[in-house]
């Protein structure tokens, strides 16, 4: 069971690495989702260790928030793509028109 603690830490840091390292917006959103997964796993682990059941409910709400975040993030990327016709961060440096 203790291996999962290290796994959740690893997932979080990998998501962090991906968010920084990736160039196009969609992969950044992907790696953000990875970080969320890591944190949610930690919640379940602690709920199991301390027997405090509410932690598992928090994971419910984390999932709802991550669903909304992905939905709105992706629609923003789409509208950005329509205007700037690119998704790559280094081409988006000059945001102002």
């Amino acid at each position: 069971m203790s291996i999962y603690y290290y796994l959740s830490a690893f997932l979080f840091c990998l998501g962090l690495l991906g968010t920084i390292y990736k160039k196009d917006l969609i992969s950044i959103l992907l790696c953000l989702e990875l970080m969320l997964g890591g944190v949610a796993l930690l919640f379940v682990l602690f709920s199991r260790a301390t027997g405090f059941l509410d932690a598992q409910l928090q994971v419910f709400f984390i999932m709802i928030i991550s669903a909304c975040e992905v939905a709105i993030g992706l629609s923003m990327i789409i509208s950005l793509y329509r205007k700037k016709n690119t998704v790559y961060t280094d081409e988006l440096k000059i945001i102002s028109e």
Binding site: I64, A67, C68, V70, A71, L74, S75, I78
Partner: protein, 99 residues
């Protein structure tokens, strides 16, 4: 879960016989861009699916709840908000497929 997965997998490997011969495939291919409607249905599906999935625990929680009328008021509020969102989506007819 893994057991039926392993069994399913084994079965397909046995029957895979590769007689290799390259063939001509029809029209040329390019991943061109597609209509925005597909992504809109997927996003709206995600949001409403999360709504409905929240009802599953409610359906089970109703059985052994003490004050069931309180649960019902919560349920009606939940459905009211869901319906408001749904009506908004329909009236904005962003799901119109004019093909």
């Amino acid at each position: 879960m893994t057991i039926s997965k392993v069994l399913g997998f084994k079965r397909t490997l046995v029957r895979k016989m590769d007689i290799y011969e390259s063939g001509v495939n029809p029209s040329g291919s390019a991943t061109r861009q597609y209509d925005v409607k597909y992504y809109l249905t997927a996003i709206l599906f995600l949001l409403f699916d999360v709504d409905l999935v929240f009802l599953l625990p409610w359906a089970l929680g109703y059985q052994n709840a003490q004050d069931q009328t309180f649960m019902i008021y919560g349920f009606l509020f939940f459905m009211a908000i869901l319906l408001v969102g749904y009506i908004f989506v329909i009236n904005s007819n962003s799901l119109k497929w004019e093909e």
